[in-house]
Amino acid sequence: MNVPATKEPPLVAPRPGRGAAALSITALLVTAALNWQHLAWWCLPLLVLASALHYRAMVRGQALPGTPARLGLALILTAGVLASFRTLNGLAAGATLLAAMTAAKLFEARAIRDWYVIVGATLFLLLAACLDRQQLWRLPLYAFSLWLSVAALRGLGGGAPQPAPTLLRESARQLLYALPLAIVLFLFFPRLPGAFWSLSGDDSAITGLADQMSPGSIARLTESDEPALRARFEGALPPVQERYWRGPVLHDFDGFSWRRHRGEPAAPDAVKYRGTVYRYSLTLEPNSHRTVVALELADPAGAPLAQFTDDFQLISRRPLTQPQGFELESYPHAQRGGELSPEARRIDLDLPEDRNPRSRELALRLRAGATDDAAFVARVLNYLRDGGFVYTLTPQRLGRDSVDDLLFRTREGFCGHYASAFVDLMRAGQVPSRVVTGYLGGVWNPIGGYLLVRQADAHAWAEVWLTGRGWVRADPTAMVAPDRLSRELLQFGGGAAGSGFQLGAASHWITTLLQSWDALNAWWQDDVVGFNFARQLNLADWLGFGDRDWQTLAVALGSGMAAWLLWIAWSLRRITRPGRPDALARAWRRIDRRLRRAGHPRSPQEGVLDYCERLAATHPAAAAALAPLARRYALLRYGPPAAEADAEAELRGFRRAARRLRLPRAAR
């Protein structure tokens, strides 16, 4: 009779094994640690505490806290996140909230469902880490975290609890199987050309050029070997003296600090592009100021998502939180600017009235002896060259009248000091001028085939308006320290105040090693992290089937997946194939061989006892000889399971009996 279906109990095991729980917690801690840079400070200690308490409760079999305590905890944690970030929005706040709630979940992790939630949260934290940082050196850490998480997931599948090493081994094998499909999906799964929406306020706290410059407040400039940008040139590299990479332009001066002024979009004829042109693809590291730092002076056509301002900055419309690629053309000899509007003139002549009086005096004195603006510029530059100024990265601090202090008291500083002083003098002499920040230089990496510009190459120079010539670059630092300009460096690390190796020819291999590492990083940034819709289409093109469109990608994706499915089915089938037959089957196989030789073959699907019956009808003698063995076989195979030692003895006895079997020959 058929029993009506009722609500059936679940087939999943109610609780994970110790190994799975330990793996889940380890994965959670490792993944949270990978998010340390944007989690609230209290988050990691909280997770460690929660894990320790959970472990204690697990070992001692203590009860976990009840519902009111957990609800209260959740409220306190939410308040904590709000106190730390003032919002629950954004990657950092979201990741902190998630980590905190997972810590709370640890207090109540009992059923398998709770552990699924914990592993899911861990994977989400890993996603947050991936969204936040993509450096190559983090890749193994991310992979490690993924490995732990999926091993934990494996422990939740039910069945007898498996120890952690088994889970790790099995999931490592499984990850290797998964890798080819992941690569196929990565290459061919259609990407989006742009974003649906974006998180706001996420472009903070990234080192690089700043929105403002206060050279007087810096007592020690630490050089950072972090890359700022990489450029692959088609054809020749620009000469060293033309490697000015233009960043934020600073207009507003209060006597001490320089700040940006909101620039208007440039008029279409603001720049006459002429002379030598350099074509290059630029990979820009993330920065906080949204400026596409390009070789002077870039044609904005290569950066359609950026606005070209009237002070010739390329300002990205989106935050530059990810490394981004641009195809650019730059004209170092372009004529910059046709007309200077009265408003622009006012902005770039503005000086605080009551600051730096001695400098103003000096400027007026120098101005008096100059026939025109160009001569005045030359006189000021000469003054800086011959005035006994010193270039240093560890200058003294400057007072409120920073330019006076620099020119008449300390007489030492770096590019920011001299650019600041120079522009102050220019403006006092009624020449419109402004400070340009950016990078100067760049090191050729022969392994990667690109020019690398590091944060340590950060530089500040000036631009002055000369009637008839437009904006002209003037680099006062070059007057003070000519070798700053010509520092053609093959080595990494400037060897100045910061980190860095002072590398001679003897340590050539270190150079090579570092260059290889940087080239690998560049490849990672350009071709993996920077892989996008455009490159997908290029790839489809390169593969050579169809047009550059979605259909081509779909075909590639489909065939890749099909190939993978076949491969995986084949590999797993190989594993499923029967192993060696067991000892009992092997023993019976010998009997089968002898039966065949004796002329009584047994068909493969025929049961042993059935066969005996069939044999008895035709060859009773043979059947009689075989019957005891067949019964013994059936008992061993299908009878009640015996203890291991007994089973061994039974099997030995069966083999002995099988050897003694004498079969009468079949009648011919």
């Binding site: 009779m1 109990p9 899911g120 969204l131 494996r154 995986i568």
Partner: protein, 324 residues
């Protein structure tokens, strides 16, 4: 409403699978053709998680996030294959159902053999509506699984369909198959009844003197309680000390003879009579007493021992069903 719909769908699907697969006969090897697989609840949640990750990766054009998502998706797909592989190639070498009493729990014994070089995990098998039995199989191992089923009515009970499933390795997918084995359990009547055991003509005088109730001190061995055992024979003292429910077995009562007769039970319904007879047979077996059974149209002579008892109980079970 929802439950009714679900039941209807379940019945339809079961009928479809039965038609599709045909009857099964052990020994049999499970092949891919008869394996079904669907995501579980956690599996659907995980799919949602992956979808959110995909959207995040696409939205921020973040390659690393996408790589992570694709890696996880591929990983789960491998898991799906692995889940199917847990059942694929598994051999069922034996299936049998033991006799049981109506209203109680019967037991089906299944024996599985794993010939492959890989272990098979998180397997579960159950009769419809009953508890599942969980098991794991090491490479090359053989296992005997007992699964309970609800014995409803006296007579023959066909167990049309068993469900064998696995959620390995993640619990995100559940692969299952239905086994339509020729399993038939003989369900004895429920051992119920208050009437005293009738004494045969040859009853012993020694037993008479004991006034029906054996003293607890005189038992010679104990065995576990079974439904239908007389409360009088339970070792209550041992139970009070924390031991499981045991039944005292007595020497000395053996040798008595009882004629159990259907006709002698006037005033009872058919099933109640059979239940009473069943209880008596149990009691006789417990005291190792000989008994005979007289049913309308069937007389089983005096006998003793387990085989005799089974014969009697089966006769009771199948009484009225035509095939005795």
């Amino acid at each position: 409403m929802y439950a009714a719909l679900r039941d209807r769908i379940t019945t339809r699907v079961a009928a479809w699978a039965r038609r599709r697969q045909g009857p099964d006969e052990p020994p049999l090897t499970l092949r891919a053709r008869r394996l079904y697989i669907l995501p579980t609840g956690p599996g659907l949640s995980f799919a949602l998680l992956l979808f959110v990750m995909l959207i995040a990766g696409l939205n921020y054009t973040n390659s690393l996030a996408l790589l992570l998502t694709f890696m996880l998706a591929a990983f789960v797909l491998v898991g799906m294959y692995e889940c199917q592989r847990t059942l694929n190639g598994l051999e069922l070498v034996l299936a049998q159902a033991a006799d049981c009493h109506a209203g109680g729990e019967g037991v089906v014994e299944l024996r599985f053999l794993n010939r492959s070089a890989q272990g098979r995990h998180a397997l579960a098998v159950r009769c419809p509506g009953a508890r599942a039995s969980h098991f794991d199989l090491d490479p090359g191992a053989q296992i005997s699984v007992q699964l309970p089923f609800q014995a409803l009515q006296r007579g023959r009970q066909r167990i049309e369909r068993l469900e064998l499933a696995s959620t390995a390795p993640f619990g995100l997918f559940r692969c299952w198959t239905w086994l339509h084995l020729p399993l038939e359990a003989i369900v004895y009547p429920q051992p119920l009844g208050t009437r005293p055991l009738p004494r045969g003509g040859e009853s012993r005088s020694s037993r008479e003197s004991r006034a029906g109730s054996p003293a607890e001190e005189e038992w010679t061995s104990l065995r576990h309680y079974q439904p239908g055992d007389s409360p009088r024979s339970i070792a209550w003292k041992a139970w009070a000390r924390g031991a499981p429910l045991m039944v005292a077995q007595y020497q000395g009562t053996g040798g008595s003879e009882h004629q159990l007769s259907f006709a002698g039970l006037e005033g009872l319904e058919l099933e109640a009579r059979l239940s009473q007879l069943c209880a008596w047979v149990q009691e006789c077996a417990r005291f190792d007493a000989a008994c005979s059974l007289a049913l309308p149209g069937l007389d089983l002579p005096l006998g003793q021992g387990a085989a005799h008892r089974t014969r009697l109980l089966r006769a009771l079970a199948l009484y009225g069903s035509g095939a005795a």
